[in-house]
């Protein structure tokens, strides 16, 4: 076989392997179908659905795997696959956008068009690397932390309403669920840093805990404004309450505080203290290699998407937006608006990265406990003012 020299030849090789495997498996499978009756039924469906795909959908519906099933929602849309795809492409976008800000080109070769497949190439590279755990580390904890962090991020997606009806789990207390999950991340980071049994990860993990102290209370209080205004902890009802006016117009201060706290929570530059590269190597990520590192990054970016989605839901009117698709596509229209708003929030977070140096931990704590906390209380008083006066009738909330 020829040598692998470029990314495209590598992809070609990969496709050949996959197609080869598929053909081999199909042949084995069809042999099996002559002997096992239930598989025979499935094969009939498979063969007939080449002509009529709706047969396949009906079959999946019968088995509880169809488009309206919980399985589909969790696995494909609006669950993990959708979020992971957005995460991968936001990584590409971030690199390309930062490159424009910094007057360079950015990813270019993988995927022909502007390096669109660069994140996929990176993931493939990470998958094929060796996972190394330091000999003195607590291996079980060390290797479970990436999975825990990705799981927390994915769990956030469960309560995120992308459109009317398209939500994995509607709960009366979904705002509380989000805060419970977000509060767990620094503990996972601490466990990861501790399990690495190395100095730099440990310092990074401690910084992660400090960071939580800085952001959590202002974030809760700024959310309290939304909750007071709507009288509900359900994100879906919060969206319904914004059918007349988006909450960012009613409480810009609260939205600002929540956005800042969100960036701090996501540990993005300029608040990337737990992984400050030039100071403490890579913080709690230092000892992670291969897909363990990839999982950590995936977790961070899925959380990025989820938190931007929460911001959209609470302040930017969730799925509401003018009808741009023809009648009959209301749900698709809502999904499009939700995605556009979420991506805009993410872009705003990326711009911050291009213009600021890293914050120091004492400055961050001072910011969290003085300015952000005060601002969030000011926001709360303004909300009470709206509730106590005629303004709430005018705005229809």
């Amino acid at each position: 076989m020829s040598k692998i020299q470029t990314f495209s030849s590598f992809v070609k090789r990969l496709i050949i392997i996959i197609v080869g495997l598929l053909i081999t498996l199909t042949l084995l499978f069809s042999l099996l179908a002559y002997f096992v009756p239930s598989v025979k039924e499935l094969q009939d469906i498979l063969l007939s659905s080449f002509g009529n795909p709706s047969l396949m959908l009906n079959y999946l519906d019968q088995k509880g795997l169809g488009l309206n099933s919980l399985f589909f929602k969790v696995v494909v849309f609006p669950g993990f696959t959708w979020a992971a795809l957005i995460a991968a492409e936001i990584i590409w976008f971030e690199r390309k956008f930062l490159a424009k800000m910094q007057m360079r080109v950015g990813p270019l070769y993988a995927g022909k068009i502007a390096g669109l497949l660069q994140p996929i190439a990176d993931v493939i590279k990470l998958v094929f690397k060796e996972i190394i755990a330091p000999s003195s580390s607590d291996k079980w904890f060390f290797l479970s932390i990436p999975i825990i962090i990705t799981s927390i991020a994915a769990a956030l997606l469960a309560v995120l309403p992308v459109s009317e009806g398209w939500i994995i789990m509607r709960s009366d207390v979904s705002v509380l669920i989000i805060f419970a999950l977000v509060g767990f991340v620094p503990i996972a980071v601490l466990l990861g840093g501790w399990a690495s049994n190395s100095k730099y990860p440990f310092i990074g993990a401690l910084r992660g805990l400090h960071q939580m102290i800085a952001f959590e209370i202002p974030m809760l209080i700024s959310t309290l404004g939304v909750v007071l205004l709507t009288g509900t902890l359900d994100l879906v009802n919060i969206v319904y309450a914004q059918s007349n006016i988006w909450f960012i117009l009613l409480m810009p201060i609260g939205a600002f505080v929540f956005f800042t706290c969100m960036i701090i929570e996501l540990e993005r530059i300029p608040f990337d203290l737990p992984e400050a590269e030039s100071e403490i190597a890579s913080g709690y990520l230092t000892e992670y290699t291969s897909m363990a590192f990839g999982n950590l990054q995936l977790g961070v970016y899925i959380r990025f998407y989820a938190m931007a989605g929460v911001f959209t839901t609470m302040f930017l009117g969730g799925w509401y937006g003018p009808q741009i698709l023809p009648n009959g596509f209301e749900i698709a229209n809502q999904v499009i608006w939700f995605t556009i708003k979420t991506l805009l929030v993410m872009i705003l977070a990326i711009v911050l990265r291009g213009v600021n140096p890293r914050v120091r931990i004492d400055l961050l704590l001072r910011m969290g406990w003085s300015s952000l906390l005060i601002l969030s209380f000011v926001n709360l008083f303004l909300v009470i003012l709206i509730l106590q006066t005629e303004l709430s009738q005018i705005f229809g909330v």
Binding site: L98, M101, Q102, M103, R104, K199, I203, I269, P270, D272, L273, A276, E277, S278, E279, I280, A281, S282, R353, G354, V355, N356, P357, R358, V359, R360, I361, D362, L363
Partner: protein
């Protein structure tokens, strides 16, 4: 409170080719011990086995960013021993190259300062603008980084006529960019909060420790070899020495910004006043009579000097290099005391320490 000892480097994103052994109490550094020597190449010994011309390329290697600054005192020392006077045009070209190298080196300084602060745009912009001056140096000397351009008796070749136009363009472009740098990087509130009042080196300490270059000027001492112990044609030129009394990391970065302005003005003056004529003495053979010579120049990082002993043979008897980086290294234990761990990289880079130069 218990103490934590931390070995930063030699394989650490914020250390360069050296190691700093830190002792931390909480998040504060209570002791910092520099541990250089990882990139010692024996340049001084190498110089004893090569003749005076062969020495030029490898003596540039310790400071590839500031190649002219590194080789300038060497050729001055050789010329002093040979007792020759260099043609005036060659002297102007030398000064232009030295100042270009100062800008190139200072831009690299700004870039690494940015990446040590976690500011990726501050890394990319200066590195991109550095290319403008590297191209200019390429037009003059025919190489992008290590030129081997200065030789005893002049410069290797004359510069082309189009340099004037290109230099004007580069300087006009970069003057505008410097204003942008000031707005975006130096006056950024986060940047100021993190560097102002951090890494203090008081004036008395700076003098007592024998600090040189921008680090010394940032501590409020108006000292520059170009003015104090002038060489080449610097006494004919009109330029300022920026001095700051703040003594902190921010003022060190600011001094570098101002020095780039002054360097551009020097380049413009030189190009305006450069005479015509030969650029090299017609020396058939470099024959150095026995004797000793000492020369120093203001390189990008401060006073860089050579002590040359010749026994009349083909090769020098002894070449001693005294580099500014090594003299500034002594400040690390003083400026890092009481600084937070997060401020260690910008404080360390503030003194513009170049490990390869210090280790020679």
């Amino acid at each position: 409170m218990s103490k934590l000892s931390l070995s930063v480097g030699p394989q650490h994103p914020g250390s360069g080719h050296m190691r700093i052994i830190l002792t931390l109490s909480g998040d504060y550094i209570i002791e910092a011990i520099p541990d250089p020597g990882y990139v010692h190449r024996g340049e001084e010994k190498l110089a004893e086995y090569r003749n005076y011309i062969q020495n030029i390329p490898h003596l540039e290697r310790p400071v590839v960013l500031d190649a002219t600054g590194a080789i300038f005192p060497y050729v001055l020392a050789v010329e002093d021993l040979m007792n020759i006077i260099v043609p005036e045009r060659a002297q102007f070209i030398r000064v232009i190259m030295a100042e270009l190298n100062r800008i190139i080196s200072h831009l690299y300084y700004m870039a690494i300062y940015g990446i040590f602060m976690g500011h990726s745009t501050m890394f990319m912009w200066p590195v991109g603008d550095r290319e403008v001056f590297i191209d200019l140096a390429n037009t003059i000397a025919g190489q992008r980084v290590t030129y081997a351009f200065l030789v005893p008796g002049g410069v290797r070749n004359d510069m082309p006529e189009k340099v004037k136009e290109q230099a004007d363009k580069a300087c006009n472009y970069f003057e505008k960019r410097l204003i942008e740098y000031e707005h975006i990087f130096m006056n950024n509130p986060l940047f100021e909060k993190r560097t102002k009042g951090v890494g203090i080196l008081p004036k008395q300490d700076a003098i007592r420790l024998g600090v040189v270059g921008p680090t010394l000027r940032a501590s409020g001492v108006k000292s520059d070899v170009r003015k104090d112990d002038t060489y080449s044609i610097y006494n004919q030129l009109d330029f300022e020495i920026p001095v700051s009394n703040a003594c902190d990391s921010w003022s060190r970065a600011w001094i570098h910004m101002e020095e780039m302005r002054q360097s551009m003005s020097i380049i413009k003056q030189c190009l305006k006043r450069i005479p015509t004529g030969p650029v090299k003495l017609n020396l058939k053979q470099i024959k150095v009579p026995p004797g000793e010579s000492y020369s120093r120049v203001e390189a990008a990082r401060g006073s860089l000097s050579y002590y040359l002993i010749s026994d009349g043979g083909k090769v020098p008897y002894r070449v001693r290099i005294m580099t500014p980086s090594f003299r500034n290294l002594i400040t690390i234990p003083y400026i890092m005391k009481g600084v937070m761990l997060a401020d260690m990289p910008p404080t360390y880079w503030g003194i513009d320490y170049w490990p390869v130069e210090a280790d020679r």
